[in-house]
């Protein structure tokens, strides 16, 4: 719904001036035909005020209901109908209020056709202008919406790319390699290999692709190996994977952000050693994966810790399964647990 053209001061002024000109013109014509000045004024005021009200009504109605395509014939019919109503009303009101003037009824009778055509023309013009105005407004709004949507899509794409590359992780890993080159070149070489495999995995996999848990865990292992080089013996992992689940499927690259979140949360927020525990099992028709990390309730509230990474996982799960309860988190004492369930029935 757009604003009426009268919401703009300039148009309001023009509209009022036009109406005043109409009123004055009407008075002049009636005086010319011999009506007393006072009667001419009353006549003009009544008929033009009624016309003004009808015009305003049409303008306002068009705000909510805009004719499309072939409906213009309806608009014509409505204009005609409204003009007839206006004419009947005006005629009745005028004869009641001015009937006592000599020869007024005659004049009114003879002028009806002229009055009708002028009113019809005016109402038609107002309607047409309004339709044009609202159409243009609507088009502009549509265009704005379209550019907004495009902008959003572009931003999302950029964000995705950036997420894939994970600059913080990448540059820190390169920095570790840089340090290893001098002191332990063999390890540096190994880490270059791991980092390359990891990045290849990120680029290769489509977000829509499904992989087996085993594949996903191999990819996760690459990531963990690199993190272990970065953080030395501060980071340890404990994996407990039910053998029956390794063939189950899940969306590619869904575990790594969860584990990354756990590492950031566990490692960045506590200064001691950190053990990240990962469990996988089957629960009814779901593959259930639990990731647990220690955290320090003193310094980090889980509320602010469940950051960005988990949100994007949640979003992906929602887009894939239209469910919001597949990713849950809980904080008990100083252990933070992230549980993700992947329904297996539709796979």
């Amino acid at each position: 719904m757009s604003n009426s053209p009268l919401s703009i001061t300039r148009f309001r002024v023009i509209f009022i001036i036009c109406w005043l000109v109409m009123v004055a013109d009407n008075i002049m014509v009636l005086t010319f035909f011999g009506l007393p000045h006072r009667a001419a004024m009353i006549d003009s005021a009544i008929s033009n005020t009624l016309l003004l009200l009808i015009c305003l009504m049409v303008m306002n109605t068009l705000r909510y209901y805009l004719p499309r395509g072939n409906q213009y014939i309806n608009v014509f019919a409505i204009c005609l109908f409204l003009t007839i109503i206006w004419l009947l009303l005006t005629k009745w009101l005028l004869s009641v209020s001015l009937g006592h003037y000599d020869g007024y009824r005659d004049l009114l009778h003879h002028s009806l056709s002229i009055r009708f055509s002028i009113a019809f023309l005016l109402l038609g013009c107002v309607t047409m202008i309004s339709i044009l105005w609202y159409n243009q407004k609507e088009q502009k709004e549509n265009e704005e919406r379209k550019t907004d949507a495009e902008k959003l899509a572009k931003e999302a794409e950029l964000f995705k790319l950036r997420q894939q590359l994970q600059p913080h992780f990448l540059f820190n890993s390169l920095n570790s390699i840089n340090a290893l080159i001098g002191s332990r070149p063999e390890e540096a070489r190994k880490m270059v290999q791991q980092l390359s495999d990891f990045l290849r995995g990120t680029i290769k996999k489509e977000e829509t692709q499904w992989v087996t848990l085993q594949e996903e865990l191999q990819y996760l292992q690459l990531y963990l190996d690199i993190e272990k080089v970065r953080f030395g013996n501060r980071l340890a992992t404990d994996m407990n994977i039910d053998e029956k689940t390794t063939g189950l499927k899940l969306p590619a690259l869904i575990l790594q952000p969860i584990v990354e979140n756990a590492i950031k949360f566990g490692l960045y927020d506590t200064t001691g050693d950190t053990v990240i525990r990962i469990y996988a099992g089957r629960e009814e028709d779901n593959l259930m994966i639990k990731v647990m990390n220690p955290f320090d309730p003193e310094t980090s509230s889980p509320k602010s810790g469940t950051g960005f990474g988990l949100k994007s996982v949640q979003r992906r799960l929602y887009l894939l399964f239209a469910r919001t309860n597949l990713l849950t988190t809980e904080a008990k004492q100083n252990i933070f647990t992230t549980i993700v369930k992947i329904p297996q029935d539709g796979v």
């Binding site: 540059f171 570790s176 340090a179 001098g182 200064t271 602010s304």
Partner: protein, 246 residues
């Protein structure tokens, strides 16, 4: 001899700085620290001439650590990727090392530090810390020093803020903490949907408000869940109404 401290949570990142430092015998590495808490202690103990400081670290960030120091030392920042920090550095013409960096780049940063030192402008300025604290990761919590202990207050635990001379009193369920910042700083940093400057000297967490009563002629007073009464000026009332959607 100048004293140097390295603060970085990754041991390999520290070791590369240590390696590059070997070419500069006039610099003595007095301590390596794995997080901001250790860093804080080491700085107070050794009063170093220069520190190498990572930004994203466990517990508190490099910036938050600097904020807790009354007189921050000269710093060469080392960071992998931090858009906000880099923006802050660029805005203040501060030299920083982007990981990974080589010996030449490292030497250049050191000679820049030497230059600044001869003109006496090598120390970290409050301006830099101010603009760095605009980063979203830092607007989620407030780090304060309570005696010798460091307290991290998540912003949603804050009841309200009150101006107190050169400090701001941060009222929480555990009493209040003082932070050497201005009300304008907090007004700018905190989420405007949650924190409203209700008065020249007060900022309220709107989630804590239970009701707002009229008070004297043009003023109001907000009653918080804790029972605290916070003054609301006329313009503050307008802002509160807007945020609360009244």
């Amino acid at each position: 001899m100048s004293k140097v401290i390295i603060i970085d949570d990754e041991h390999l990142a520290r070791s590369i700085v240590k390696e590059y430092l070997q070419k500069h015998p006039q610099l003595e590495l007095v301590q390596e620290c794995g997080d901001g808490f250790e860093g804080l202690k080491a700085i107070q103990q050794h009063q170093p001439d220069l520190i190498f400081l990572d930004i994203q670290m466990p517990k508190i960030t490099g910036f938050e650590m600097l904020e807790l120091l009354e007189q921050p030392p000269a710093v060469i920042f080392t960071t992998a990727f931090d858009e906000y920090a880099i923006k802050a550095f660029e805005a203040h013409a501060i030299d920083y090392l982007l990981k990974p960096f080589n010996q030449e780049r490292f030497d250049k940063a050191l000679s820049k530090w030497n230059e600044l030192r001869s003109s006496g402008t090598e120390k970290v300025t409050q301006d830099l810390l101010e603009s760095a604290s605009l980063s979203p990761s830092q607007s989620q919590r407030i780090v304060v020093k309570n005696g010798s202990k460091i307290k991290i207050i998540p912003v949603h635990d804050v009841f309200y803020l009150e101006a107190a001379d050169d400090y701001v009193k941060i009222h929480t369920s555990e009493g209040y903490f003082l932070k050497n910042k201005t009300m304008n700083h907090f007004e700018q940093v905190l989420d405007k949907e949650q924190f409203v400057r209700s008065h020249r000297s007060y900022i309220i967490n709107v989630q804590q408000i239970t009701r707002i009563d009229p008070y004297e002629k043009d003023n109001h007073v907000a009653i918080l869940r804790s029972g605290a009464k916070v003054p609301v000026s006329r313009s503050g009332y307008g802002k509160l109404k807007e945020v609360l959607g009244l």
